[in-house]
């Protein structure tokens, strides 16, 4: 077993990996950027090294600096977390060259899965069900029209190197195909430096369901149940659960077996996730494989009782999987809420800044994986994921109610968070009935926030509390005269600028 591991990441996932290391009596090495000196992952580590200024390209993405720290500190392995360098085959190769174990699959597996067209080709060979379409880039609009004719409209154009919705176009008619292809290619070129675009049949109102797999370096692979990830906004997952409300034991076994076949076809090792699109008839189609630990791995941990990070480390150190498929026992239901620093009252704009009060939930069935603490200033430079709140219950209903209870306890002041969004989702009848697809959240948000009756009682309490705060704690003295006019800017127009694939 390794004696020391470097964690090439920050935030909640770095803290989560360090916890696993401490549980395995492995020393931890953190890396951090200028603005992360006071971040939680720095004080949780046994060692910590500055690797550059705030922009990720100058710090968390700098392979050379990270490998230098690994060498200096004597770390034998690197855990990349998710995002940043986690799916970078070049980094995995550089680690191998430097004699440091990369905790993840081989560069070859990562490369195969990194190109969606190549992955499609390999999976086609392995007999994995695919969305009807072409498994190589389109050479011309004519070729696209022929394939579309064969599989039927609507069709989806997708960048081979893509992700996060970039280089994607939904096409309903032959007439629109040419211009859509051109647009998709040019966006793919701009976003990924690779203009290859392929075509698939568009699945209407699909579900997004993924299957966790684990494979050791001795040829053993197992599946650990699915995760329902249909609740997304701008191609970003927001809430995930396991089991999926629509997957029964037979479908789970079939999906699991396909996922293991995918892993084996890719000579995959370590933890990975096979993503499927599921249509309204519950047919499932291979979408892509994520060659890393997912943000949402805790829901699988709660329903299986396993620790995926422990297992990742054991696999990377050369151990065999300590159990077989038959030993995996799925029990209960788990749901994860991704707590983002963003403003639900203002189109979910990011909200960095200082956390002035933080009351995290706890108690039965509640797991809170956080990278934040009271008094910390959330930097403006990285993804807005603050923490993950995961609820476990005997059944789905109990998991939902537990999360409602935990969200009621959860309070963050100083910055905005999306806590209220989860209260909306968890109280929504469609969600409670399991009627989900990837369009679910947009529909919910379009409905508008049902404000409910004016809280007369709450209002009176707030008025009285205002006076009592000022008496009991003079920190809230009567406010300065006049307000700042500029709060009108709250209605200004944010644009998404390619949030990292990390959080998908």
């Amino acid at each position: 077993m390794f004696k020391k591991i470097l964690i090439a990441n920050r935030g909640e996932i770095a803290v989560r990996i360090m916890r696993a290391c401490r549980e395995m009596e492995i020393a931890t090495v953190a890396v951090y950027s200028d603005v992360d000196r006071a971040a939680l992952h720095v004080s949780k580590a046994d060692e910590a090294y500055l690797i550059g200024p705030a922009p990720a390209a100058e710090s968390y993405l700098r392979m050379d600096k990270i490998l230098k720290v690994a060498k200096r500190s004597g770390a034998e392995a690197i855990h990349p977390g998710y995002g940043f360098l986690s799916e970078n085959a070049k980094f995995a190769r550089a680690c191998a060259d430097a004699g440091v174990k990369f905790i993840g699959p081989t560069p070859e597996s990562m490369e195969m899965m990194g190109s969606k067209t190549r992955a499609r080709q390999e999976m086609e060979k392995a007999g994995v069900p695919l969305v009807p379409g072409a498994s190589r880039g389109l050479q011309s609009p004519e070729e696209g029209e022929q394939v579309a004719e064969r599989i039927g409209y609507p069709v989806m154009l997708k960048a081979a190197a893509g992700g996060g919705g970039k280089g994607m176009r939904l096409v309903h008619t032959k007439e629109d195909l040419g211009s859509a292809l051109e647009a998709a290619q040019s966006e793919a070129e701009r976003s990924f430096g690779d203009s290859e675009v392929y075509i698939e049949k568009a699945i209407v109102n699909p579900r997004h369901i993924e299957m966790q797999v684990l494979a050791d370096e001795h040829g053993n692979a197992v599946w650990l149940g699915e995760r329902e990830c249909s609740i997304q906004r701008r191609h970003q997952k927001v809430l995930e659960e396991s089991p999926s409300p629509i997957v029964d034991p037979d479908m789970r076994r079939r999906m699991g077996e396909v996922a293991v076949r995918v892993a084996q076809a890719a000579h995959y090792t370590n933890a990975g996730t096979v993503e499927f699109l599921v249509d309204q008839q519950k047919n499932f189609y291979f979408l892509e494989m994520n060659t890393r630990l997912q943000v949402e791995h805790p829901v699988t941990e709660l329903i299986t009782g396993l620790d995926l990070v422990h297992l990742q480390i054991r696999i990377a150190s050369g151990e065999k999987l300590p159990f077989t498929q038959e030993d995996v026992k799925i029990r209960g239901h788990a749901i994860e809420c991704r707590i983002y620093a963003e403003d639900p009252d203002n189109n979910y704009f990011p909200s960095p800044g200082k956390i002035t009060l933080l009351l995290p939930p706890a108690g039965p069935g509640i797991r809170h994986d956080s990278g934040a603490y009271e008094g910390w200033t959330v930097p403006i430079d990285y993804d807005p994921l603050l923490a993950k709140l995961i609820g476990y219950g005997t059944d789905r209903q109990q998991a939902i109610m537990r999360l409602q209870r935990a969200l009621y306890e959860y309070f963050v002041a100083g910055i905005k968070t999306n806590i209220s969004l989860f209260q909306r989702i968890l109280h929504d009848p469609d969600f409670q009935a399991g009627r989900l697809d990837t369009g679910y959240l947009d529909r919910l948000l379009t409905k508008g926030n049902h404000v409910g009756s004016p809280q007369t009682q709450g209002l009176a309490i707030a008025a009285i509390a205002a006076g009592l705060f000022s008496v009991l704690d003079p920190a809230s003295a009567p406010s300065r005269n006049g307000s700042v006019a500029g709060t009108a800017a709250a209605s200004s127009n944010w644009k998404q600028r390619g949030r990292s694939e990390a959080l998908r």
Binding site: F349, L357, A466, F469, N481, A485, T487, R499
Partner: protein, 165 residues
């Protein structure tokens, strides 16, 4: 003690009087007995006629919010002796207007030049935070009197970016 409390934009008169270790409150004339204790900084526990309420205080650069359970109320507290000043600034549609950063970030671009004319809603400055860009827009038609934001600079919530008059 007498206060003028604005809750979600509506004004209320609040009188507080200590009585037997608890508080006799009079809110818009209605008498309410309240048992109050600060349980920690920014957290107040109130018992009102048996009901238990935990109120959390959030003071941002621009606003004071009080949370009763999961419900947020915008609050302004004034000493009524300075009541006449209430209308200063806020809601005043005439005169110079400040454009402020709604949250911390980094200035990416300035879209207009000083002294130039702007329309209401026209973008003036672009601020970036957490990989998203935010156009701060002019609240009114007028002239850009001053630009205080410079590209590359970090700003805090509430910092003045420009003044339009």
């Amino acid at each position: 003690m007498v206060y003028d409390v604005m809750v979600d934009g509506k004004s209320h008169r609040l009188e507080l009087e200590k009585a037997d270790g608890a508080w006799k409150c009079r809110l818009d004339g209605q008498e309410i007995h309240v048992d109050a204790v600060m349980t920690r900084r920014d957290v107040l526990s109130l018992l009102v006629d048996g009901g238990s309420y935990e109120i959390k205080r959030e003071q941002t650069a621009t606003d004071l919010h009080l949370w009763v359970g999961n419900t947020r109320f915008g609050v302004e507290l004034r000493d009524p002796r300075s009541l006449r000043s209430r209308k200063d600034g806020a809601g005043d549609e005439k005169g110079p207007k400040k454009l402020v950063a709604p949250m911390p970030g980094r200035i990416v671009r300035v879209l207009v030049m000083e002294k130039s004319a702007v329309e209401a809603g026209q973008g003036v400055v672009v601020v970036e935070a957490m990989k998203m860009q935010n156009e701060i827009k002019s609240p009114k038609k007028g002239f850009v009197q001053k630009i205080l934001a410079s590209p590359g600079a970090n700003v805090n919530a509430g910092d003045v970016l420009a003044i339009v008059e």
